[in-house]
Amino acid sequence: MTRGQRPAASAWERRHTAALAVPVALLLVWLVLYPNLLVLAESVREDGRLTLAHYADFFSTRAELAALWASVWTSLASVALAALIGVPLAMFFHSFDFPGRRIFGALAALPVLLPPLVGVIAFLFLVGESGILTRGVQLALGLETAPWRLTGAPAILFVHAYTMYVYFYLFTLAGLARMDAGITEAAASLGAGRWRILRTVTLPLLTPSLTAAALLVFMTSMASFSAPYVFGGGFRVLTTQIYTSKMSGALSLAMVETVMLASASLVALWFLRRYEEAREYVVVGKGVAPARHRVRSPSVRALLAAAGAGWVLLLLLPHLTLVLISFVADGGWTTQLLPERYSLENYRGLLRDPRLFAPILNSLQMAALATAANLVFCFVAAYLVVRRSFRGRAWLAVLLVLPWALPGTVIAIGLATTFSANQPWAGRFVLVGTFWILPLAYFIRNIPLVAQAAISAFRRFDPTLEEAAASLGAGWMTTMRRVALPLVTPGLAAGGLLAFVTALGEFVASIILYTPRSRPISIEILAQLRAFDFGGAAALGVVLALLMAIVFVIGGRFVRQGVGTSGG
């Protein structure tokens, strides 16, 4: 009856497992572990000798320490601010039932899907020096100059809070949904008032969800590059400091900075995993559906609906601004509050100018390549992790999540280090400067996402189905093709879609690794911004968002159908 572990696999099964596991493990070690080890090695080496001199440099340079400190404190502040927006928002949508609750509740989670760079330029158009809101305040108060400048730490925190609240929002919603309504009802029956229940029952029970969200925001914020890069100015955090060091040729220093950033992220990952293990004991109750406060009075309902809608619109305002600006032709907006002339010129330009259109094709092509590789690789890797037992399986699983924990900047520096030399015997080839480096980076960055999707897809279906196929005489390949593949396809495809969309808008690794001939959309957006062609940048941003939406709609339908065929 004991089925979980199979200590004595048969000879054919062992051989077969090895034939699959060895290539998968080698690839992971080569692409995920090895580049980071090379970075570590480079950080303690000078002219072929071991030295800690670079670390001494780092810790004795004021600017370096300032960047490290800036990364840490802005991340902590981002956690606080994101919680301040996300938790009340979730409680609001959880507690009250009013018209439009579902749609606005879903919209509130939108910012997490948009590529960070697009979000960042959206803020620029709304509250940047010449943004709509900034002009509005300036006009209203009759000021000579803009009332504020969107630079430095406050700007970064503003953007972080505005985009990362989603983690708190979603985790709180999930936590509340898991919570047994009976518990709060019990507290109420014991005479506790609303605030007392919130303080003494709800929040303590939400602690695990909130902690997980906090760690995620911390990691995301540590890894954040777009906001500090666009708004930071003289204010540097580790990610932008790494970029600057790399571009200015201070390679050893860049290595040390990368090691520092990677270590901080890994520590956060360690805490997160520990917390998730502990969390399993906390989930209690059978999940009686929570009673949502159904508001009867029509006027209060309208008020709540308006509040919910207003709140969400406020959160989506930057993105709406982006759409608006994309319709503003060059010179169509000078000093007025809102642009006066709108046209499709920017979009026409995209189609007409091959220089602008090429990046869209590049991104589609590179994202498609990376995602195809992700699908094949992660299918095999997930099969191994879920269905086979072998020595080192736990390590394989760790390598599969590692790229998720490492900031894009760290991965990019690792690849730039590893694949800029031609030493085939050491697994190093010159890929930097070629087309292949970015698809490779996208592939690595998205391994965790697709692998996780594939792993949960494999966990969801009964392994006896594979045994049934074998008992009917089907060999391993036939079983995979005719049973496993159709059954994991919905989950795998969902992961693949998300990976494709992420790769489409990837910026952080791209900016370190791209080659001008095959530059992706994000780099072109930045170039437009640099050339003060805001309309062009906005149009590209909108096209990117639209491409993602199309992928989601088409893909979502396909995935749902797939789920339909294998449901049961």
Binding site: M1, Q5, E467, A470, S471, L472, A474, G568
Partner: protein, 356 residues
């Protein structure tokens, strides 16, 4: 000999799931592996199917050692407890799965699938999705799928345990006549003794990873080899006693209160007078009589009366607190007061050496 299992052994970590497992199946025989949950019967079945590899022992089929063969090369059909129907395939495609793996021609494929579905009376459901079927129908698709490949041996892992009681009873007689009609050799795993008796030519009782007794249902019921088999196959009273041989004649057992009961001579070799033994006697082999100070009487008080339809079970509490179950027909009506329990005229108690 169709299937021979020679000294199979399988360990999972600290737990030995199957040990010294030796069993032989005649061609066309319907054998059941019966035992409580966790006794290793499913592991034994999976060792035969090839999903597990034994730590020791051999699986021999028609004279060929198949221990090292992968499941798909053994070609044994298997019906799973969960049915394991492919949810993304229709009824037809499920049944055709094994035939396609055998690369059958399309025309032949259709004919064989239809044949398999006719056998289980599901021909009208060819194009249905398997989720649309009831539990009983799904079970029959699983059977049709396993039979379609015309396996030389069919393995069934508690295939009826997910059906409700009345359907289960009906299905097992149908299953027996179907399998007997096909003349297929089959090994069936269950924890349900009634099911085992209804279905099988022979039953192999397992406990704690070990085979305890193999025999026809009658053999098991009338002559259980040990206390476990006696208790697991049918209802049984378990008492303790001391063997005697009054006047040097046949063995008898002295129970509490000095009652002397006759003993089934089978299985008493090695046992002699003066030996402490465990005594097993079935409720229907006992009867209730008014206290009469007879040598074979156990005296007690009726503590419970359980209605079982045609019969009534009385729980009689003896002086030392032991409770003995007696099954009587409905007319007898004992209530309260002291009463005597004694074996019916031809009944014999089974005795086993007392556990140390």
């Amino acid at each position: 000999m169709s299937l021979e299992l020679r000294g199979l052994r399988k360990r999972f970590g600290e737990v030995v799931a199957v040990r010294d497992f030796t069993l032989e199946l005649e061609p066309g025989e319907l054998m059941t592996l019966l035992g409580p949950s966790g006794c290793g019967k499913t592991t034994a079945l999976r060792l035969i199917a090839g999903f597990e590899t034994p730590d020791a022992g051999r699986v021999v089929f028609r004279g060929t050692d198949v221990t090292a063969r992968s499941p798909q090369k053994r070609g044994f059909g298997m019906v799973f407890q969960s049915y394991a129907l492919f949810p993304h395939l229709s009824v037809f495609e499920n049944v055709a799965f094994g035939l396609k793996a055998q690369r059958k021609e399309a025309s032949e494929l259709g004919r064989l699938v239809e044949g398999a579905l006719v056998r289980v009376d599901l021909l009208g459901y060819v194009d249905r999705r398997v989720q649309e079927l009831s539990g009983g129908q799904q079970q029959r698709v699983a059977l049709a799928r396993a039979l379609a490949i015309e396996p030389p041996l069919l393995l069934l892992d508690e295939p009826l345990s997910n059906l409700d009681a009345s359907l289960r009873e009906r299905t097992r007689t149908e299953l027996r006549s179907l399998l007997k009609g096909l003349g297929i050799t089959a090994l069936y795993v269950t924890h349900d003794q009634e099911e085992a008796f209804d279905l099988s030519d022979r039953v192999a009782v397992m406990n704690d990873g070990e085979l305890r007794q193999v025999g026809t249902p009658e053999e098991l019921y009338d002559h259980p080899h040990d206390v476990f088999v006696a208790g697991f196959v049918g209802r049984a009273n378990l008492l303790t006693g001391l063997l005697e041989s009054p006047h040097g004649g046949e063995l008898r057992v002295r129970l509490v209160g000095d009652a002397l009961w006759p003993v089934d001579p089978e299985g008493t070799s090695g046992l002699g007078p003066g030996q402490a033994v465990q005594v097993v006697v079935r409720p229907e082999d006992l009867e209730l009589v008014p206290e009469g100070h007879h040598a074979s009487e156990l005296v007690g008080v009726v503590s419970e009366r359980v209605f079982r339809g045609a019969r009534i079970a009385y729980h009689v509490k003896l002086a030392d607190g032991t409770v003995v179950e007696v099954e009587a027909n409905r007319r007898s009506d004992a209530r309260g007061g002291r009463i005597a329990v004694r074996p019916r005229s031809h009944a014999r108690a089974h005795v086993y050496p007392a556990a140390e």
